[in-house]
Amino acid sequence: MLPFGIEYYRPDTIDEALKLYRRLRENHQEPVFYGGGTELLTRARLQNVHFDAVIDLKNIPEVRVHGRSGDWLEFGAGLRLTDLADGNLWPLLTATADRIADHTTRGQITLGGNLLSTIPYREASLPFLLMDEAEALVATEDGIESRPLANLVSDSFIKPGEFLVSVRVKGDEAKGIAYRSRKMTRQDWIDYPLVTVAVTRRADGSLRAAFSGWAGFPFVSSAVNHILSDTGKSARRRAQEAVAHMPVKALEDLHGTREYREFVTEYTLAQIIDELEDD
């Protein structure tokens, strides 16, 4: 149960949501924008987070978009992870997002909630990080702003009072690409990742990899991508070098030690490279 009372609001427009937030703040309240609630509610139960008003964004049409719009493939921040899998508009996104949590929880977790989670994994971001053109549409006081998703993990990506409306990628880029996405866990099918690796192979044969679970945030590394794309070397060799040249050290936690994460990442990368280059 929540140990404190909250006010619940469900605005129908972006404007209404922004105004509501401002008004509540002026009223010295602590509002939060609300998607699926899996994180806010579970943390609030433990009193790890405090708020006294929630602004549920899921009734706003722009937050629920799911489909093509011109060149773009758009995904509303309020879509459930199960919506993404059911629609399967972008198989790489499905492959990654459909391995988050369990099915019941994916029926609650929203795309926006996962992308902006305080839990370090945020695996739904990996497909977007692998694209040249991936944008977030953010509702701000000054209207809708588009921001590159490459900056997702920076602290100032979304400022207080702003909220994520949707994310989008170029349809041609997203769909004309070979990919693998693999979530590796300590032991269980349903668990946080030791490491989740999403890899794309473009028409020119170049490889890019995005990682979640390796560090406290999801990332891609151009140095790693460069190593992976060196087809002159064996998959195993490239995987070894990639792991040796990661931009940050691997985490060490109860899911696994640093060395084991390296071991798992290495064989996973090697397997994926072999598969993608055999296709």
């Binding site: 149960m1 929540l2 140990p3 404190f4 009372g5 139960r45 433990l46 009193q47 369990d102 300590r186 032991q187 269980d188 099918w189 349903i190 668990d191 946080y192 109860l254 696994g256 030690t257 084991y260 071991f263 798992v264 064989y267």
Partner: protein, 774 residues
């Protein structure tokens, strides 16, 4: 009428599957207050001050209690545990204060505002830390606590809460006679019971002084006795009700929340107060299953006969003793596993640490003990170049052997292990333990392990049964054993129906246990309910029938010996057309003229354990239980030598059930046990950081086996060697399937990965590390 041996559904099944079954937290009285515990956020520290001022200001808060307000020390063997930490905290999660409020939200808010200041002390974070000569003491007072239930031998100025020993034969000679020796060191983390229903207790003190407790407990009669003792009440004043329990696994045999609920109710003038564990509380504050280390040395002659067993077991009991001394004796008494070993020296130590305290966990210490012994057995088989199953068969304990504590074994009190081993060969398709290549880096392998267990119950454990008759001739049955899943009530009803020769649906069994109306049953633990309750029900059925036959005899003007019964009738044996219906006798027989005899018929039955004794302090000799259940378990796994990932294809158990009373429930119980044991073996374990903080106090981090992760196939086979002093010959089988399956997995994977895997859980990382350390 044949009810014994048939797969009747559980009595409570319709209510459970429709969500109508009522558990302790489903019955709520308006106006009930809520109590919330404030957990320590240090593992070992002196308490300097606890500031409750801010908490008391929260609207709705009625009382904030700290350890200073209580003088009680609790513990069913040794009284070492303050219900709320006093002077110092000994584990992360230990309750330091209790907030009582009008509603749960207020209590939780206030609990978050209780501030404690600590002086940190060195954290005893492992068995090794605790045994270090310079170790800080978890209990300065160790050795001077009141002993509630002897025996227990604490060692002053140390972290050893208790020590149990067993010696048999001549070790020096045994080692000389051994051609082959193996040594194994095993290490297992603490684990959780992870019952679906977290623990809960409610307490109310009525104006007339009566104390009403409702709790999710395996031991309502123990709750009654201990509360009376701690708070100087008469046991009769205290009424404890245990409704259906949503899983227990030993974790609800201890008494913790009941004490706090009583204290809370007392602080608010006797109002009903409820205390319900969150999952976090259930994992970090309420007791766990112990952590464990062992050094096993086995010696055998060249032909494979075991000559010597020298063993040291160390239990990480956490911060308080609870049942650990009893568990230590259970381990000592069965320390060899189900094998005839002439020469034994075993020491078992209960070691205090700054970990969450522990209590019974399904198998009562036999699971970790079996893991250690069965790993050593496989190492011995390897050293002897013997088939691991052959080695077990050669050494299997048999009637006329004696146990490590010199208890005599008979065909009745010991199941037939050699037969179980033979059946396992068929059931799993035993291939001798060979590693079979499946493809590049992929192998398939089988592993086997055997178990035995007795009850380790107190020598004066009692049980009872009461039968009353309804006007239609049906019967009500009342027993003191709690229903937490294994079909205890249904089994009792089956036994009664069989004895009275009536359909099962004519037996109505009291689902709850209430200490005021139900006859005493020691505790619903140790897989003993079928044995103890069964005997009490037989006794009560006999009592009822004697009375019914007496009344019928006088009505029918004959001797009771002329009568027989069946189909809810009592009839003259040589002329069944002369009969009375049960319903004509149930509430007394009424003659046509109206005058009546007999009154309501009631059957009383009782049972008391016999011929058990406490183990001798020096030699450990004694008789720890009425009978030993034996069995063998095996797995077949597929293992990837490159990634170290594996998949359990088959898990199999052959167990000597004596007599299977209900095949569907019995197989379910065995499959559930395998699942639980494999979960422990493959993923479970409590993690502490270097400061003793418990890191995985949620089920998202304390991993249990989920649907889809279980073995592809569960295989269960029963053999039936009757235990002649038990109802219909049935043996205890409740806990047993958890005991050896983890060892079987470790044995299989050790061969597959070609490295000794002597620790749990066996994750791919654990295998990878073991191989790297080689």
């Amino acid at each position: 009428m044949k009810i014994i041996g048939t797969s009747v559904p559980r009595k409570e099944a319709p209510n459970k599957v429709t969500g109508r079954a009522r558990y302790a937290n489903d019955i709520n009285v308006p106006g009930t207050f809520h109590a919330v515990m404030v957990p320590a956020r240090q593992a070992h520290a002196q308490i300097i001050a606890i500031d409750t001022d801010e908490a008391k200001k929260v609207p709705g808060v009625k009382a904030v209690i700290t350890g200073k307000d209580l003088s009680v020390l609790s513990g069913d063997v040794m009284e070492d545990r303050p219900p709320l930490a006093r002077d110092k905290v000994r584990y992360w999660g230990e309750p330091i204060a209790l907030v009582v409020a009008r509603d749960e939200a207020a209590a939780r808010r206030a609990a978050g505002l209780v501030q404690a200041r600590y002086q940190p002390l060195p954290v005893i974070n492992s068995i090794q830390d605790a045994l270090d000569k310079k170790a800080a003491l978890v209990h300065q007072q160790n050795g001077s606590y009141t002993v509630a239930t002897p025996p227990v031998y604490p060692k002053k100025h140390s972290n050893i809460a208790d020590e149990a020993n067993v010696t048999k034969g001549d070790m020096d000679k045994a080692w000389k006679d051994s051609d082959v020796k193996v040594k194994v060191h095993v290490s297992l983390p603490q684990i959780d019971h992870a019952a679906m229903e977290p623990r809960i207790a409610k307490a109310e003190i009525l104006a007339d002084g009566r104390v009403l407790i409702h709790a999710s407990t395996q031991a309502p009669f123990e709750v009654q006795k201990l509360l009376a003792k701690y708070f100087k009440l008469n046991p009769g004043q205290i009424s404890v009700t245990a409704p259906l329990v949503g899983g227990a696994f030993g974790g609800k045999a201890g008494v913790q929340l009941e004490i706090l609920a009583y204290v809370a109710s007392k602080a608010v003038g006797g109002q009903m107060v409820k205390i319900v564990n969150t999952r976090e509380d259930d994992l970090a504050t309420s007791p766990l299953g112990m952590g464990f280390e062992a050094d096993i040395a086995l010696g055998a002659s060249q032909d494979g006969r075991i000559k010597a067993a020298e063993m040291r077991f160390f239990m990480d009991i956490g911060a308080y003793a609870d049942s650990a001394p009893r568990i230590a004796r259970a381990i000592a008494a069965q320390c060899t596993g189900p094998y005839a070993v002439p020469n034994v020296h075993t020491d078992v130590y209960c070691v205090y640490t700054n970990h969450t305290y522990t209590t019974a966990w399904r198998g009562f210490g036999h699971m970790p003990m079996t893991f250690a012994v069965e790993r050593a057995m496989d190492e011995l088989a390897e050293a002897l170049k013997m088939d691991p199953l052959d080695l077990r068969e050669l050494n299997a304990i048999r009637p006329h052997d004696v146990t490590p504590t010199k208890a005599r074994l008979t065909r009745s009190n010991l199941g037939d292990l050699p037969k179980a081993l033979t059946h396992m060969r068929q059931l799993i398709g035993w291939n001798g333990g060979r590693v079979e290549a499946l493809g590049p880096g992929r192998v398939r392998v089988q592993g086997v392990a055997a178990f035995w267990k007795t009850s380790s119950s107190p020598p004066n454990a009692v049980s009872g049964a009461l039968i009353t008759m309804n006007s239609d001739g049906s019967v009500n049955l009342s027993i003191g054993a709690v229903e937490f899943g294994p079909g205890t009530k249904t089994t009792a009803a089956q036994i009664l129906a069989e004895q009275l020769r009536i359909p099962l649906d004519r037996v109505f069994i009291h689902e709850d246990v209430n200490t005021q109306v139900d006859p005493e049953h020691w505790k619903t633990v140790a897989s003993l309910s079928t044995y103890m309750v069964g005997r009490a029900v037989l006794d009560a059925a006999k009592d009822l029938m004697t009375q019914m036959l007496m009344v019928a005899a006088s009505v029918l003007k004959c001797s009771p010996d002329d009568l027989d019964y069946g189909d809810e009738k009592i009839y003259v044996r040589d002329d069944p057309s002369i009969y009375l219906d049960f319903k004509d006798l149930a509430l007394g027989y009424k003659y046509q003229e109206g005058d009546s005899i007999g009154g309501q018929l009631m059957g009383r039955g009782k049972f008391m354990i016999r011929h058990l004794n406490l183990l001798d302090q020096q030699t450990g000799h004694g008789r720890p239980g009425p009978a030993w259940t034996v069995g063998v378990q095996a797995v077949e796994v597929e293992y990837d030598q490159n990634t170290h990932q594996y998949r359990i294809l088959k898990a199999a158990t052959v167990i000597d059930a004596g007599k299977v009373l209900n095949p569907a429930i019995a197989s379910g119980q065995v499959m559930g046990g395998m699942n639980m044991g494999l979960g422990v073996a493959s993923r479970e374990g409590i993690f502490y950081d270097s400061d003793g903080r418990l890191l995985n106090n949620q089920l998202r981090l304390y991993k249990l086996m989920r649907m889809g992760e279980q073995p592809k196939q569960y295989l269960v086979e029963f053999i039936e060697t009757p235990q002649v002093d038990s109802a219909f010959g049935a043996r205890p089988i409740g806990e047993h399937a958890v005991l050896a399956i983890g060892a079987a997995l470790a044995n299989a994977l050790s061969r597959a990965a070609n490295v000794s895997l002597n620790m749990l859980p066996i994750t791919p990382e654990a295998i990878w590390r073991a191989r790297r350390a080689r």
